[in-house]
Subunit: 162 residues, 4 copies
């Protein structure tokens, strides 16, 4: 298995800016997170964009699709904001690529205490390895099909729409 | 899916004792780790024992097998020391239970900076969910069959014995 | 020496709210921070308020002054937002209490990676112990008199106004 | 004020070695800790040695004394193991240098969860700034004179010998 990790931003990758007091994107935390993970198989990291998923538009999503299309790796994990993860998953799902594409993210930034980010990364890497081609969302320790998932923004959890 | 997490100790769960300066077992970190993970499906945590896997003998392994046998959940993740993870996996594998049993652990304790523990937990939870009954080792972002795995103690990584 | 720690909120004490994605005040981190500090002398913690210092008005500052006045301890450390730390220091300084009052805070929240909060707490506790009655600001590893300090918001550091 | 920080090893600076499972010295954590501290005054870091203070002999202590003697800075913080901090403090105290020398350390390594290291560093930096020439031990949020301090190894705290 060779794996590609594509970072697009989202809560997972936010950092605290001491000057403005805001959560912002500076350098991706993924290289550090992947080093911690001690993965022995070849893994390619692609920092594609660094935005809040509420700021994603069709152009951004087209870029993500394009990155998946040109990926030489058949197994792809996309780090994505949770708010519009479903929309990106839908675009990728409808494209029907012959690759296993798993979207994950975090409810608490990697660099904040008690973050779920590293758990989700581990979970998503396994989901990518173990599934046939298709597009999946991996959050809250669950796997969702791209066309049957929504974020429950009241409780901050992902749910099946069935 | 309902999941059981069985803690047996190992590096994953070691804490620093400020009085002796040693790494010891006090309370398991698993409840805290599972809360971080934000898993929404029912998950049962069973703190079975808390020992270094180098100190495990046949009696300990029989206890682990027994815990797996009586588990009402079909999906089991065992947190285990890495040094004899292979031996426990073998005992469980030869028992041939109709459950999916995944052994994982950590090379760096959960409570030490840059630990792989939370990544491994997420990875193992997905491996348990997505595999048919059998016994697997999940380390270094890879899945190993119980009868084809060894720890390379020089490099600190798990390898396939094929 | 007996010491009182008064929490008023500020960046030091902010936590990430996974539902809203905002930094908010829930429970103070001070009890946890003080336990880490392993202080052996009696220390009283008073969670007085939990607000951003930009939201502080005269009523809030009067409450802080009142808390200092009624403190049975002669040594007081106030955890405060950095943006209006100077204003509160001025009010306390002009009141001329016969107590050593040290204001500190953080540029990065305690619960965010690479936070200065715990360093500042240690620094401020020593400053309180070692100074005669008066009002001081302790930030950036420096001690400032209440009437000669400003926050340089461009660089995110405290400076002497002399 | 200009400050020198001299690292000698000790619990403060220990890291976990994933291969051996032991706490060892690799690179000092002090540069990272000092960056977090956001100190604005010039600070010089000198990694003098990296050993457990139980392994310190007269030669090591002579090196520490020599480093203090040649320090151009008048304010010195020494990061030291706790077990023989008292012995080094005594040697330095009897030398009677005209510098303010503060020894500190940690009961829990900097890189382990809930470490007191960063608090102690902040505390010691203030103690160095605010005291006249002499040799002091700064631990547990207290300042001790070099000739009136001992470590209570049962409770893991420093005490006054008076």
């Amino acid at each position: 298995m060779t794996l590609r990790i594509i970072a697009t931003g989202g809560t997972f990758d936010k950092r605290y800016d001491p000057i403005t007091g805001q959560l912002v994107f500076i350098n991706s935390v993924l290289p550090e997170a992947l080093e911690r993970a001690r993965i022995t198989e070849p893994t390619t990291f692609e920092p594609l964009m660094a935005i809040d998923s509420l700021d994603m538009n069709d152009t951004h999503r087209a870029q993500i699709l394009s990155a998946c299309e040109r990926s030489p790796e058949q197994k792809i994990v996309i780090i994505h904001g949770t708010d519009t993860m479903r929309e990106t998953a839908r675009l990728l799902g409808e494209a029907g690529l012959q690759k296993t594409i798993v979207l994950t993210g975090a409810m608490v930034p990697y660099r904040v205490a008690s973050s779920d980010a590293l758990f989700n990364l581990g979970f998503a890497v396994a989901v990518a390895q173990l599934n046939a081609p298709g597009v999946l969302v991996a959050m809250n320790g669950r796997v969702f099909s791209w066309d049957k998932v929504r974020k429950n923004t009241t409780d901050g959890i992902f749910e099946n729409t069935d």
